[in-house]
């Protein structure tokens, strides 16, 4: 499959934070969840893709083009939603659509109007008078109205009610099916991804933990619960993010087969973890 988006050894250094040697590829027609705790580097990756920040090292290609050098050609084909959508507060919803339209050769006015209706967005309401959720809906409507081949969405579901979050995920899946587009969905609301994402990329402390298909992740990782008597130093070192309490220990492993072998015949429960479990149990110690 051709990659719509490809990062190879991408690095970016700030005071107190560094994104280091991040590599992954996003093929066409795929929804990729970009997960990680706050401050892991998700938004930095999004900003590098949109050339809002310049990378210090590595290669970042979108549609086979260099993200920095060919930014105009690339962004014509990208739909974006930022974590906190900010537009001009005195312009109306329809006015913002009219402002964005000339920038995109494939702008689809009728689709924009349909989306405004579907999202219950009053066209004549000023942006400054929209709620947080409505602002995000408007940003999503703008992103979906020019037949973008890649959607880069940074926390698009935060601030949205669960009903619309579900609707949005369904719309994204439909969009991918209709347009053959790729979606990079950065979020910490991992339940959305368990329903929609084909691939998961997990970053933590600016480093890539894994990038693989959702099924591979779910099949490979294990949530392990057992009695405290088993929790010796060796097991502590072997498990990731082990938590011990009066009722026993809980931790995760990225090798379910090894876990099954290790705990064969022992009073241990091995479960399929959620993405949230993986994020929580692999977080670095404070």
């Amino acid at each position: 499959m051709t990659s719509v988006l490809e990062l190879r050894g991408v690095g970016k250094r700030y005071d107190g934070f560094a994104l280091d040697d991040v590599s992954f590829a996003l093929p066409a027609g795929v929804i990729m969840g970009l997960i990680g705790p706050n401050g892991a580097g998700k938004s930095t990756i999004v900003r590098l893709i949109l050339n809002l920040a310049s990378r210090d090292s590595g290669d970042l290609r979108v549609f086979g083009l260099d993200a920095a050098r060919d930014e105009v050609a690339i962004k014509t084909r990208i739909g974006f939603v930022h974590e906190v959508p900010v537009f001009y507060p005195h312009l109306t919803v329809a006015g913002l659509g009219a402002m964005a339209a000339p920038f995109y050769p494939k702008w689809d006015r009728s689709r924009f109007e349909q989306l405004l209706k579907a999202f219950d967005l009053p066209p004549r309401r000023r942006f400054g008078r929209l709620s947080r959720g409505m602002r995000t809906k408007l940003a999503i409507a703008l992103a979906l109205s020019h037949h973008a081949e890649l959607l880069v969405l940074d926390e698009p579901t935060s601030g949205l009610d669960p009903v619309f979050r579900r609707e949005l995920i369904e719309r994204l899946m439909q969009y991918v099916a209709d347009e053959g587009a790729a979606v990079l969905l950065s979020t910490h609301l991992t339940a959305d991804l368990e329903r929609a994402a084909d691939c998961i990329t997990f970053v933590q402390n600016g480093r890539l933990v894994f990038a693989s298909t959702r099924d591979e992740v779910m099949d490979r990782w294990a949530l392990i619960k057992g009695p405290l008597e088993l929790l010796d130093a060796g097991l502590r070192a072997w498990l990731k993010g082990v938590e011990a309490g009066p009722l026993g220990f809980v931790g995760v492993s990225d090798d379910v087969a090894a876990a099954r072998r290790r705990f064969a015949g022992q009073p241990v429960v091995i479960e399929r973890p959620t993405l949230e479990d993986i994020i929580c149990y692999t977080r670095p110690p404070c």
Binding site: R47, L50, N51, L52, A53, S54, E71, V72, A73, I74, K75, T76, F80, H82, P85, V86, F87, Y88, P89, H90, L91, G95, A98, M99, A100, P102, F103, Y104
Partner: protein
């Protein structure tokens, strides 16, 4: 670039409208004095430029604008183009008002006011041209906070000297000595060159900015 200019004008339309209205009234009341007319014409043009220049920064729309299919250099060039267009439009409006006023006065048997002359408009054009170059140069170089302060300091240093050197009377003398066309051409070239240099510096500064 045209899309960016239209975006700037569209985004600033409401604020521009208000300022044009308020300053237009002030301008109309100042038509009896040539000096006040010149000052207020420049203030009107400068205010329009400042509104457009500061709008993206003040509402925090930078990230949105730079996520659109535009280059950093394109954003800078469009900002200069919009500012100079707006400044010219404001000065043309002010000049038209002055000429109408003078024509009415002269039509009623009065004397054509001596300040309603080309040299006044040319002086205003130069002042506003310098203002655009300094304001945008400082904003793109240092950002909205420090850049605004830097622009005020630079203007405070330049304005007294500049206004003394480039008075309408001085320009009138020059036009008499050298001719109208060479002086107007030189003034436009000087303002254009200053803005071109300022824009080159701004493009370089803006290229490394992050959003």
């Amino acid at each position: 670039m045209l899309s960016l200019i239209v975006k700037d004008l569209r985004a600033g339309a409401l604020y521009l409208g208000l300022k044009v209205l308020v300053l237009g009234l002030l301008l109309a009341s100042a038509l009896v004095s040539g000096k006040a007319f010149l000052v207020l014409s420049c203030v009107l043009a400068a205010a329009a430029v400042a509104v457009v220049a500061l709008l993206d920064w003040s509402v925090g729309a930078d990230r949105f604008v730079h996520s659109l299919p535009v280059s950093r250099a394109g954003v800078v060039r469009a900002r200069y183009a919009t500012s100079l267009l707006l400044a010219s439009a404001c000065l043309i409006l002010a000049s038209a008002m002055a000429v109408i006023f003078a024509a009415i006065v002269a039509g009623r048997g009065g004397v054509w006011p001596p300040w309603v002359m080309g040299e006044t408009a040319l002086a205003a054009l130069l002042y506003v041209g310098v203002f655009v170059a300094v304001l945008l140069g400082c904003l793109f170089q240092f950002g909205v906070g420090a850049g605004g302060v830097a622009a005020v300091i630079v203007m405070a240093v330049l304005a007294p000297v500049g206004v003394r050197l480039v008075r309408p009377a001085v320009l009138a003398d020059l036009m008499r000595e050298v001719g109208v066309i060479p002086v107007v051409t030189a003034a436009i070239v000087a303002a254009g060159l200053l803005n071109w240099v300022s824009m080159r510096i701004s493009v370089r500064a803006h290229a490394s900015r992050e959003f």
